[in-house]
Structures are given as C-alpha cells and as structure tokens.
C-alpha cells in the first residue's frame, strides 16, 4: 500500500535522524548515475524554489519600515488568530481522522469499504465550495436553517472562528484519515497480540503498542492539514474570519505588494515552525514499516455498537458531501430571481482545461519528483536531503503569494512564458509536487535492494535494472503521487486566476466568475463536475491501497 509508505517517507524526509537505520548504497561509492540523479534533484529543487526568492527582493524595497510592520500589534493579533485556527483544525482533524481510521480498519462495522470511501471523499471537495454550501445551508435564512426551524432546531451562527474551524476540519481531516489508515494497515499485529497476551487491556495495548507506531502517520497527515489551513484563503474569507492570508490579500489589493511580500515571508516563518514541531513529534519512524506480515488484521469487536459507530462517518458524509451536492443541485433547479441565469454560458471546454492542466501538473510533478524521490530514498547525502525538503516551502505557500512571485519572476526573467499554460503548470508543480516526492520516495524505500543487486549480478546495466526492477515496483507510488497532485490542482483557485493564459477558463475560474456576477445557479454544474472528477482521482488513491493490501 503506497499511502502507508508515503506516510513514512514524509516522516523521514522531515526527520533525517533515523537515516542510519536505512540500508544505503552510498558506502559502496555512488555510481555516476546516482551522482547525476542527486545533482539533477538538487537542480530541480533550486529551480522550483527560486521564484519564491523574488518575494525577498520585494521586501527589501520596504527598508527599515519592514521591522516596524513585522512587530505591529495588529499583525501579531492576526498571526495569533491564524495560529490558533491552524492548531484547532489540526487537533480536530486528528481526532476525527484517527477515529475514523481505527473504525474503518480495525472495527467490525458493516460495509467498511463503503465507509472508507465516504470518509475519504471530502478531500475531493474544495473547501471554499464546502464553506459556500455550509453558509447557504446553515447561514441565516439558509436552506436547512429554514427547513429545521419549525422543529425548534436553532443553529448557532455559522460565521466566525468556530464555523471556519468546523468547515476546514470537515474538508481536511481526510489527510489524517488516509495517512493513519496507512499506518494502521502496516501495523504488525503480532505486537498487539503479544501485548494482549501479557494481560494488557485493549486500551492499554492501543496506547502502548499501536499508538506509538501510528504517530508518524498521524503527524504526516496533521502536517498536511496544518499547512493547508495556514495557506487557505477562501474558506476563512467566506466564514468571515480574518487570517493571515486575508491580510496578505488586502495589502496586495491595496497596491502594497512589498508589504504583502513581507507578510508572506512571515508566513514562511510560521511554516518553518510547523515543520519543526512536526519533526519533533515524529519519533523513530522505522517502526512504521518494520513488519510485512500480519498487517492490519486487528479486529475490534464492537458488538451491537458497530451500528451506532457507523453514525459517525454517516454524519460526516452527510455534512461534508450531501450538503454541498444538495445545495448545488438546488441552485441548478431553482429559478428564483436571485438565481437567474445569464449569458455567461458554461462550456465543457472549461472542464477539459481543468483536466488538462491537472494532468500536465501531475505528469510534471512526477517527472521532477522522480529524481528527487528516488535519490533521497537511498542516499544519505546532505544535498539529496536538502533537495527533498526544500520544495516543501512551495507546498506551504498560499497560491496568491506564489502567483505574485511568479508574475514578477517570469516578467523579469522569461517574459515569453508569462501567461502561458507551461507557467501555470509550473506554478502547480511548485505548489503540489512535494506530495509526489513523498509517495515516490516511500515506494522506492520498499524496493528490496537485494533484488536490484541480483539483477546487476546477472549482468544488467544500472539503467536496465532500474527499468525492469525498480520502476515497476515504484509505479503505485507514482500513481498515488500523481493522483494527489491532480486532485489538488483541480481545486486550486488563486494562482489559476492570476496566471492562466488569456481566455483560458477552468472549472474553478469559471465558478469564480459566475459567482462574482451573482449567478449562483451557473456555478452548480461546474461545481458538481469538479467534485465528480476529483472524486475519481480519490478512487485511484484508494485503489492503490486496496491492491497492495489484499
């Protein structure tokens, strides 16, 4: 199962302390091919991160003012609120994600496969669409608020910190869910059984044996949740919470690009802190894949409670999936004055554009991630480690910030790529590629070095051995990485708006346009198409899991 391995790779990438446990080929002296791969990976990482350096150039124009703006009380207050939101969403996602993972992997609930899909699917819904639907359903005079009012059900106001935290949790917890599942599935059950034999209670066995082994997986998912929350703009904006990204937007829209750049650099500092915390939580991750036998077979007998337990994923599915689909469906069929349709007609080419750039981004991400991921999996070189970690800066960069940096960068350096599909795809690759590095790296980790050595002994060239042994074994990792990049690219809005070529609309840019024009009904079809296509890529991810564990 690639996700599980991906988890461990994310973990390792962030804490290299345990690298001695890895078998490496470096002792024997790297071949020219390996050195080449390392250098190629480092070069790629440099190219990916370089555009963000343009932000620092912008900041320098502020001069000494930069310092006073940095420590401004309002700035710090917004920063504190942002950190609080990140903390709350991450904690809630861990609770929900781990709970559902244990439920679907270990408990004897009916139709576990179905509930796994339900629990994973919210990742396919862009959180800003989710927020939009939540407000339409549960906001003042919302569709459901009105329907439930006669029954005496009163909703607290959905706007504000709590509402934003709930919505963000609903659409980001699947990161934790998927990574924790992966860890649970790879768990060596004999250890748990041993603990039980030694008279440890069910809870004690979980706490002392299971938990330490799935913590790296949980932490990897939590990291993705935290960075997503930190860089998200749309959801807090719709839920009316002022966070750092919104602060950046406001400066940028007030023609204060240098100030916006300064705030972005501050955001990088927060990212660095999150990465540091994560790597401290991550204990020795070698435990996460020490065993290949008896995986995931722990069975939690819930008795009659198994039916009650299903209510949890059912409720979450209802809130995170049924509500948005229902709201968009309602917009589609309702033709009141507020929902009048106009001449901004939907064209299926928007869907095609979305899929095209998402496919290109996935392919591009895999291409650049291959040398980095393959090399860092087996190398202890500092350069390879740096190449592996540096791209994370891009992952944590809000889309708007990346877009601004890329506009200046491309206009200054290479005006001919400005506003072209290649530059747009480049932006996606910078932002989402770390997801692909992770999964490729981890699948490479699981390739038995002896197989490759065997092939070499039998006279295969390094390249030939790679083609016939390594490549087929890392393919599932490539598929998972590509699907994750595809999924996140489909949903990306801010960079798409600024960097897309003239007249090139995608599903999200079209949704944005019609929503701006007040034609909510028009947003229904593209929103549903977006969710369905993204859902299909979730299927690819879950299929990898199924294939490898059955």
């Amino acid at each position: 199962m690639r996700l599980r391995a991906w988890v461990t790779a994310v973990r390792q990438r962030l804490s290299r302390r345990s690298s001695t446990t890895r078998s490496t080929e470096d002792d024997e002296g790297a071949t020219a091919l390996d050195t080449g791969l390392t250098l190629l990976g480092a070069a790629i990482a440099a190219v990916l991160v370089a555009p963000l350096g343009w932000l620092v150039v912008d900041v320098t124009t502020l001069g000494p003012r930069a310092i006073s703006l940095t420590v401004d009380p309002t700035t710090l207050a917004v920063l504190a609120r942002t950190v609080a939101l990140v903390g709350v969403v991450t904690a809630a996602s861990v609770v929900v994600g781990v709970g559902l993972a244990v439920l679907t992997v270990q408990a004897d609930i009916p139709y576990p496969r179905f509930w796994t899909v339900v629990a994973a699917l919210p990742l396919a819904v862009p959180s800003y669409l989710g927020a939009f639907a939540a407000v339409s359903a549960f906001g003042p005079r919302g569709a459901l608020t009105g329907a439930l009012a006669p029954f005496g059900v009163e909703f607290p106001t959905i706007y504000g910190f709590v509402g934003a935290a709930v919505v963000l949790t609903l659409y980001t917890y699947p990161y934790v869910f998927l990574t924790t599942r992966a860890s649970l599935l790879s768990l060596d059950v004999s250890l748990v059984e041993a603990a039980r034999t030694l008279n440890a209670g069910r809870w004690e066995a979980f706490r002392r044996v299971t938990l330490p082994r799935i913590v790296p997986g949980i932490a990897a998912g939590a990291l993705l949740v935290a960075l997503y929350t930190l860089s998200d703009f749309g959801t807090p904006n719709i839920m009316r919470v002022e966070v750092f990204t919104q602060f950046i937007y406001a400066r940028y829209n007030a023609f204060a690009r240098d100030y916006a750049a300064l705030l972005s650099v501050q955001l990088f500092a927060v990212t660095a802190v999150i990465l540091a915390i994560e790597s401290r939580i991550g204990v020795d991750d070698s435990a996460a894949y020490e065993s290949r036998a008896n995986r995931g077979a722990v069975s939690l007998d819930l008795g009659w409670l198994r039916y009650a337990a299903v209510a949890v994923p059912a409720l979450i599915g209802l809130l995170a999936l049924a509500v948005p689909v229902g709201i968009f469906g309602m917009w589609l069929f309702r033709s009141g004055p507020g929902y009048a349709s106009g001449a901004l007609a939907f064209s299926w080419t928007y869907g095609w554009h979305s899929v095209l750039v998402a496919l290109l981004a996935a392919a591009g991400a895999i291409l650049v991630a291959l040398p980095i991921g393959l090399r860092s999996a087996v190398s202890d070189s500092r350069l390879a480690a740096l190449a592996d970690r540096a791209p994370y800066v891009g992952y944590a960069t809000p889309g708007i910030v990346l877009a601004i940096a890329l506009v200046s960068f491309s206009l200054d350096i290479a005006p001919w790529v400005y506003k072209t599909v290649p530059l747009l795809v480049f932006a996606y690759v910078v932002r989402f590629m770390p997801q692909a590095i992770g999964s490729i790296r981890s699948s490479r980790l699981q390739v038995d070095q002896q197989l490759i050595e065997g092939a070499r002994t039998l006279g295969r060239s390094p390249l030939s051995a790679f083609r016939s042994i390594t490549l087929p074994l890392v393919l599932p990792g490539i598929a998972t990485g590509g699907a994750l990049v595809f999924l996140t690219t489909m949903k990306e809005l801010p960079a798409t708006l600024i960097l897309r070529p003239l007249g090139f609309d995608t599903l999200v840019s079209y949704i944005w346009r019609v929503q701006e024009a007040g034609l909510y009904g028009q947003a229904a079809v593209p929103a549903l198409v977006l969710i369905v296509v993204s859902g299909l890529s979730m299927a690819v991810i879950l299929a990898q899991e199924g294939q490898n564990d059955s």
């Binding site: 401004d72 400066r251 001449a343 506009v407």
Partner: protein, 386 residues
C-alpha cells in the same frame, strides 16, 4: 417612441439588402457565406438590452448615441476585466459579440486591483498582454494611470462623459457609476432619521449599533479613503473607532449588508447603491430604501471605467469598443441590469434615484483614491480590518 422601431430607415435598408443578397446567392447557387459580413449585422431591439423586474418597467427610452450609429466592431480584443460587477458588465460584451460576427473578446477576470498591478508589471517589462483594462473601481484605473501604463483615449470616446468621471490626460473614462449610500429599513427608520452628514452617524440616536458594513470590500475602502482625503486622518480614525465600538456588524460584502437591512436584522448599513436596488427588484415589497449623505464621503460616486493599455496595437478597435460602452444601449444595460448610474446624461438613473447632479458628491479627485495604503493603516489602527 422607442428608437428600435423595426421600420427605422436603416433597419429597413438592411432588411432589403439582406433579402437581395440571399436572392442573388440563391440564383447563383452559392451559400450565404459569400455575403459581406456587414450584411449579417442586425441590431436587437432595445428590450434586449434591458433587465427585467419592477424597477425596470416603464423607463423612458435612453438618449445618447445608438450602437447602430457607431462604426462596426471587427477584430479580436484582449480584455482585463475586474471581478464583481465586472461579471455583470461582461454580459453586455457577450451581446456585442452576438451582434458583430467578426468581433471577439478574450476576457481575463481577477480583482480589479490585482489586474491593475499586473498591467503595470507587464507594461514595465515590455510585455503587455491585454488591449483594454476595464476596472470596477477608479482607484485601480488611477494606479495604472499614475504608473504611466496607459495610452490616452480618443476624444470621441471620452466626450460623452462629464469630466468628473474621466481621468487626467484622457487616461480613462467612466462607463458606470457606483454611488455610496445608506440603505435603511423603512419599518425601523424614516428618511429624516438618517443624517445627511456621514460624520453625524455615530452621534445619531438609534443608528450606531444597529448598522452593518463590509470593510474588506474595495468600495468601502474607497469610501474611507475619500473620508480621509476630505476630513483628515484623525477625524476618520475617530469615526471608524466609534462606529466599530458601537457594534457595527461586519459582513463579507455589501449585498449581504443590504439584504440584512431588508430583512430587518439591521436598521441601516453602508453599501453601494445598486445592492439595495437589486434586493428591491427581486423583493419589491421589502421595507428598504436608500438615503444619501450630502457633500461628503458618504455620497462618493466611484466609477467602473475603461483604460487603454500602453503598447496595444489595436487603438482604433479599443476606442470604438469604448464608444460602444458609452452608447445608449450599453448605458441602458448597465443601468437596468446591474443598476449602475449611467455615465451619459440622457439615460435616467436606476430605480427612482436622484441623478448624480442632485446627489452632491464630495469634491474629490477619483484619481486620488488609489492612495490605499494609508487607508489600510488607518483602518488597522482603528481596529477595523479590511
């Protein structure tokens, strides 16, 4: 009598011409495609350019130049159009594309201020992408103009609009007006209870604490910028602080503010005028009306406007296009579909609102509205985050 009488001379000539063209083509066994493009142009009736609803019924026919009397649009135009109202304005461009078969527009839409910075960066780098920038806010037009990234528009294009709503050196021309206003709930307040100076609102009994605003919205920031330019930083800061501490409710946009006022959740709010009209047009019985302050920022009339981007090779097309935006049909469209204030004098204001002349907006150069950073600093120090 509406000008779009199907028997107007020009239309009749067209019909005859088109008929004979088809006749000849038929005789020669050729397809219609051989007919000259101009023969295919037919102009829809005025009703096609109008919105619908109670606020639109019974309006007089618009004066001004008809698109039928303007040169035809031909060619391709790259357009940067600001989001928000721009989405609605663009529907008119789609109508033009339907009318002129050889005219095509490639739009790029993002927030106006984002596009303005993009235009300046592109022009600085010698790589302009678009021919025309259509902003929904004068501050973005001024930003581009102040950075010398424009080509002056022709006199033909500028002339129909009063000079208050054009940029210095013909840098830009307003195509639709957006007035600041105070939507109020008629069950809660009478018109007399809304003061006619925005500075008096914090001291007016019953108003503070029952109002709403949308400080993150661009038009609100322009409103505060105008107040700052007119009243100074200190007064503006005090005004913001006292409104904020009185419990003014914050909303994401001004349409919501206007709807909340209509619902009675709020007694009054700060919003662009057209949001209330939009609510009113879909809910004619809503207890909602508009008040305007006098001679101060509360009556600021901002504009959406068009600017020719430096480096375009399609100057003729850009200017003809802008003239189309200021035609009788276009102005009627903007007035009845998005409920904007018309920019040409011969088109009546939307709803039964006073004309711009009757409004008494403040004496402020719209070009100065681009000095936004000081406004944001001011809002931040007053604890109102935009």
């Amino acid at each position: 009598m509406e000008r779009t009488n199907p028997l107007s001379r020009r239309r009749m000539l067209q019909t005859v011409a088109a008929g004979s063209a088809v006749g000849i083509a038929g005789c020669a066994g050729q397809s219609d495609e051989t007919a000259a493009p101009t023969d295919e142009i037919s102009f829809p009736e005025l009703g096609e350019f109008r919105g619908s609803g109670p606020l639109v019924e019974g309006r007089p026919a618009p004066g001004g130049t008809s698109i039928e009397d303007l040169p035809n649009l031909e060619g391709e135009l790259n357009l940067y159009i600001g989001g928000g109202e721009g989405g609605i304005y663009f529907r008119f461009v789609e109508k033009l594309e339907e009318i002129y078969p050889n005219f095509e527009v490639f739009p790029t839409s993002a927030s106006s201020s984002s596009l303005a910075q993009t235009v300046v960066e592109e022009v600085d780098a010698g790589a302009p992408q678009a021919d025309l920038f259509w902003s929904i806010d004068a501050s973005s037009l001024a930003f581009v103009a102040n950075n010398d990234a424009y080509e002056p528009l022709s006199a033909d294009a500028i002339d129909p609009v009063p000079s208050d709503f054009t940029g210095p050196d013909s840098a830009w021309v307003g195509v639709a007006g957006r007035a600041r206003s105070i939507p109020y709930n008629t069950n809660a307040l009478s018109e007399d209870e809304v003061p006619n100076k925005v500075q008096q609102i914090p001291d007016t009994e019953g108003l503070p604490g029952s109002m709403g605003w949308a400080p993150s919205y661009g038009a609100f920031k322009s409103f505060i910028t105008a107040m700052r330019l007119q009243q100074g930083e200190e007064t503006t800061s005090e005004w913001l602080s006292s409104m904020s501490s009185a419990g003014t409710q914050k909303y994401p946009n001004e349409f919501v503010v206007s709807s909340e006022v209509a619902d009675g959740t709020l007694d009054a709010g700060f919003a662009n005028h057209y949001y209330a009209l939009r609510v009113k047009n879909s809910r004619p019985d809503a207890p909602l009306d508009l008040a305007f302050t006098s001679g101060d920022a509360g009556a600021l009339v901002n504009v959406a406007g068009a600017l020719q981007i430096e480096g375009t090779e399609k100057s003729d097309l850009v200017n003809t296009f802008v003239r189309h935006l200021l035609s009788a049909e276009a102005q009627e469209f903007f007035t009845t579909v998005s409920f904007a204030y018309p920019m040409i004098p011969d088109v009546a204001p939307p709803g039964d609102l006073p004309t711009i002349d009757e409004l008494n907006p403040p004496e402020i150069e719209l070009s100065e509205l681009s000095e936004l950073e000081a406004t944001l600093d001011l809002m931040r120090s007053a604890g109102v985050l935009g």
